[in-house]
């Protein structure tokens, strides 16, 4: 997959074909990350050999559609298998465009062009963002018109099916003035044994006074690798919430950047990760305060089992005119074994006056007294530890402020804990 330029289908607009070609050139030109690069500090560079992966035709679509369970009554539901749309249903109100990207590129070419991959990828994966841009064949495009509020949730399933399959999921969500929408991406593998690769990008643009909530549930099998790039822009008085759950994959890299572009804007950057066995999650974040008077709050929590490894590197960056910034960053690690490893590199760069910023990172273990208390109520040690670890994650999930979505996320968290205990925690 890394040797031949992907071909843009002829029915797609010329600007898009040009973007894909230039992205391919960029992919070839940008050097591969190497040990010693600041943005790849502590990373396992060896994970970046993707030469064995290729695009694969859809197989087993009906089975995967049946397995695409999520919310009870989503406002819209789309199912992609190997980036191909295999199922769609929608109860969305007027004023909402919710289309597969391949279709939106034709029917709403100008609108897509205005918003498509506008940010520079600055947290290390520029090469892979270029590969994504050059290679993507589909995705989701959501545009919510001014003053339209979507009450339910748009639920999108992304499946990888087949040995050594690569997918390039793309989610682009744009909210107009005073509108509201919530999108949940659920990433899974068709089986537990076939290695896969996902290089995903999601672009969120929260227009003035709008509310945009995005949830990514990454529950691939444990022989899949993931690069996920999240870009968020929040304009005046907008509120953007991004939540990432990592339970799957052998290796996942999340690069998450929020740009606070207008006064009164707010970005909540949330994540829960529960790595076990040999899983490794590598998370890089950037809270970019471009405008004055904006608020960003990052809370990442990791519960690490067995030989799991996490890396958190976060930077709050306040531009020189971004006065009256409120920016917070917290990463907390719960070490569930003596052999896990949590690396944290919080950071702060402030170029403005009168800012309130804090950053902190902690690592802790469950105390013996806490375990004694739960066991003295009859709860066995394995369940006691899981109850505590689940409780550790819950306050992040509750920040989603939507019961149904919280329950969905907790279901994946509980599945992971069940998986851990079934193999002996």
């Amino acid at each position: 997959m890394l040797t031949t330029a992907p071909e843009t289908p002829a029915y797609l607009p010329a600007w898009f074909a040009a973007r894909q070609q230039s992205a391919w050139q960029r992919f070839l030109a940008i050097p591969a990350p190497k040990r010693g690069d600041e943005t790849w500090r502590f990373s396992s560079i060896k994970q970046l050999d993707f030469s064995s992966f290729r695009k694969t035709p859809v197989s087993g679509a009906n089975d995967l559609i049946a397995r695409s369970t999520g919310l009870e009554a989503p406002a819209a539901k789309l199912v992609f298998v190997n980036d191909e749309l295999v199922h769609v249903e929608s109860r969305l109100p007027e004023g909402v465009i919710c289309l597969p990207l391949a279709e939106a590129l034709v029917s709403h070419s100008d609108l897509v062009q205005t918003h498509f991959m506008k940010q520079e990828t600055r947290l290390g994966s520029a090469k892979f963002a270029a590969l994504h841009e050059a290679s993507l064949t589909n995705g989701l495009f959501v545009h919510v018109s001014d003053k339209v509020e979507v009450e339910g949730t748009i639920e999108v399933h992304h499946w990888i099916a087949g040995e050594n399959t690569v997918i390039f999921p793309h989610t682009l969500v744009v909210t107009g003035k005073s509108s509201k929408v919530r999108v949940v991406d659920i990433f899974r593998s068709a089986d537990d044994v076939a290695p896969g690769l996902a290089i995903a990008v999601n672009d969120l643009s929260a227009g003035q006074n709008s509310q945009l909530d995005y949830v990514a549930i990454q529950a691939f099998n444990e022989v899949t690798r993931v690069i996920q790039i999240n870009e968020t822009s929040a304009f005046r008085d907008a509120s953007a919430t991004g939540f990432i759950l990592n339970t799957g994959a052998s290796w996942a890299r999340n690069e998450t950047l929020s740009r606070l572009e207008g006064p009164g804007s707010r970005s909540d950057m949330l994540s829960v990760s529960i790595p076990a066995h040999e899983q490794e999650y590598d998370q890089r974040t950037f809270q970019h305060h471009v405008s004055e008077g904006a608020y960003s709050d990052l809370l990442y929590k990791n519960s690490l089992y067995d030989h799991a490894r996490t890396i958190f590197s976060g930077l709050i960056f306040v531009d020189k005119d971004a006065h009256h910034t409120d920016a917070y960053q917290t990463c907390r690690n719960l070490l569930m074994s003596d052999t896990c490893e949590a690396n944290s590199m919080p950071g702060l760069e402030i170029n403005a006056d009168q800012v309130k910023c804090s950053h902190g990172s902690t690592s802790s273990q469950i105390s013996d007294e806490e375990i004694f208390y739960l066991r003295a109520r009859g709860i066995d040690p394995v369940n006691a530890r899981q109850l505590i670890a689940r409780g550790f994650s819950v306050d992040v999930v509750e920040r989603l402020k939507n019961n149904e979505v919280e329950e969905l996320v907790l279901k994946f968290i509980d599945d992971k804990f069940a998986h851990i205990s079934s193999r002996g925690a």
Partner: protein, 250 residues
């Protein structure tokens, strides 16, 4: 049918002996109180019975209705009917009270069997009403941000929900104002039953005004040094533990 403690010796991990031969029999249907000065080993006794792993039992036995429990794990003893109300209950962030008690009840059921949620909440609410606990406590994380009195009430709530055979209450009265003490006592008294034995551990006689014990024991330096009826508590209240310094006590 009793919780029987025979010549119990226990040390800290560093070898310091805390319990130096405790003998005590708590038959079902009776309430016993242990009083004693700080450092006498009262709390250690409660933790050793519950199975705390920081203590090493070097001699003696604890039997429940004739069956040795010292070889059992902490959670196994709890499921078997031993309950310890903690002096300092742990906080469990992110785990709601309702889910916590439910998990404890669930642990008592055979694999595959589920708790009936409707019946569970009905039962929980009736016990909370008796303890004058606001319904909002079901959703709050276990003991997190609770006042001292709220934590103690929560311990009694758990005890009432788990319906143990033998209850050990470690300094349940400490940190309680008189109103909270009365409510806690009401909960404990409601639990008194011919099918249940209770051991109250307390530093002060005050608790025993509200929960009348059948027997009072005095513990000092790791042993029970004196036993008697409820009047012993009043004697101690009047004269303090001075008598411990006198020689020749039975």
């Amino acid at each position: 049918m009793s919780l029987h403690i025979q010549d119990l010796h226990a040390t800290l991990e560093n070898g310091t002996e805390i319990l130096k031969g405790v003998n005590l029999d708590i038959p079902k249907g009776e309430v016993h109180a242990i009083m004693g000065p700080n450092g006498s080993g009262k709390s250690t006794l409660s933790k050793v019975i519950a199975g705390h792993e920081s203590y090493i039992v070097t001699a003696g036995s604890v039997t429940q209705d004739g069956e040795e429990i010292l070889g059992k794990g902490i959670d196994e003893r709890s499921r078997g009917g031993i309950f310890l109300a903690f002096q300092y209950p742990s906080e469990v962030p992110g785990v709601s009270n309702a889910n916590f008690i439910r998990a404890a009840l669930q642990a008592r059921l055979p694999k595959g069997e589920e708790i009936d949620a409707v019946a569970y909440y009905k039962n929980l609410y009736s016990k909370m009403d008796l303890l004058e606990m606001d319904r909002k406590f079901t959703a709050r994380a276990v003991n997190e941000g609770f006042s001292g009195g709220e934590k103690k009430r929560n311990e009694i709530l758990q005890m009432m929900m788990l319906e143990p055979e033998y209850c050990i209450l470690d300094e349940t009265d400490s940190g309680l104002d008189i109103d909270a003490l009365k409510i806690v006592a009401k909960g404990v008294n409601a639990m008194r039953s011919p099918d249940r034995g209770m051991l109250l551990i307390t530093h002060y006689q005050r608790l025993l005004d509200y929960i009348k014990p059948d027997y009072v024991h005095v513990m000092a330096e790791g042993r029970i040094v004196r036993s008697g009826g409820p009047e012993l508590a009043h004697e101690l209240e009047k004269d303090g533990y001075e008598f411990l310094k006198e020689p020749a006590l039975a």
